[in-house]
Amino acid sequence: MEIIELIKKPWPWYVAGPLIGLTVPTLLLIGNKSFGISSSLRHICAACMPANISFFKYDWKKETWNLVFVLGVLIGGFLATTFLANPDSIVISESTISDLKALGIQDFSGLMPADIFATANILSLKGLIFFVMGGFMVGFGTRWAGGCTSGHAIMGLSNLQVPSLIATCCFMVGGFAMTHLLMPFIFKLF
């Protein structure tokens, strides 16, 4: 089937972007839900360990849809990787490859470099920095900012919210700072 072969190839931005954008009206129209993903992390806290913290004392069950949604994202990731995987290696820009080689990355075959994301790294300094610290900054930062790329950059900007524009700019500034200022030092640790 040709169509399956086509779907298995990496999707260009002009296919993926509009599909992601359509999530906004889809969620609004099927159930009056505002698109946002990082809230799911808050609901997990509220459900599992509210610890009498006012920020976690709310009716999280009413927001179950959000947890079901992220479960769907996980399942979608599984389905795409299992049944629709790209038979070829990922194509990464040459300049990025040479930058990352200079930092010590050697594996460019998959979506994620095995140099960092190998399970064996979990209990190492790499794991501490890339998983534990990185994840902590994602969770802490998105909650302090009141949203992530989906809630601010996509839903917030779609609704022309200036605070979301400010947040989105800060996301980018933080990312540039990590990539260009901090990463060279981090990779020297290994």
Binding site: P10, W11, W13, Y14, P18, L19, I20, L22, T23, V24, L29, G31, S34, S38, L41, M49, A51, I53, F55, F56, Y58, E63, W65, F69, G72, L74, G76, G77, L79, A80, L84, N86, I92, T96, D99, L100, L111, F117, N121, G135, F136, V138, G139, T142, R143, W144, A145, G146, C148, T149, S150, H152, M155, P163, A167, C170, F171, G174, G175, I186
Partner: protein
Amino acid sequence: MTNSQDTITYTPVEEFVCDSPNDMKKSESVLSNLKYLIVGIMFGIVFVKAEIISWFRIQEMFRLHSFHMYGVIGSAVVVGMLSVFLIKKFNIKTISGETVQFHPKKFQRGQIYGGLIFGLGWAITGACPGPLFAQIGSGFVAVLVTLLSAIAGTWVYGYFRDRLPN
């Protein structure tokens, strides 16, 4: 909040403000959650197929070596904006006939501080919260640690919230 038939009583210190709130007035059956599961699955498939979950794509973006991620986010925002504009302009109702609710966001300093912290984490993990789930589904087991840590980060924010500039 709009839910009038809570069976459990809550004593929230402040009014609950969710960033991706459920504004549906009618109560929904457990089965209706299937809709959100399906949208989530489609979303996860797009994440993987457009390689948005790739640490390399995020690095390309922050090194300005590829237009891909800018194209994805940019076109998503354009489509989202147009949809929101049309929903407002023609007062399009939800499938259960309700008026669509929008939430203006208030400026808070946390959007700057938190935004910068999230940006640092985004570049190092190669993932925002959505792709975290898709990476785990794709079999990157180590990312489970990242997710647990992100949940811990959310919890710690909740714990220190009153002492942080918001």
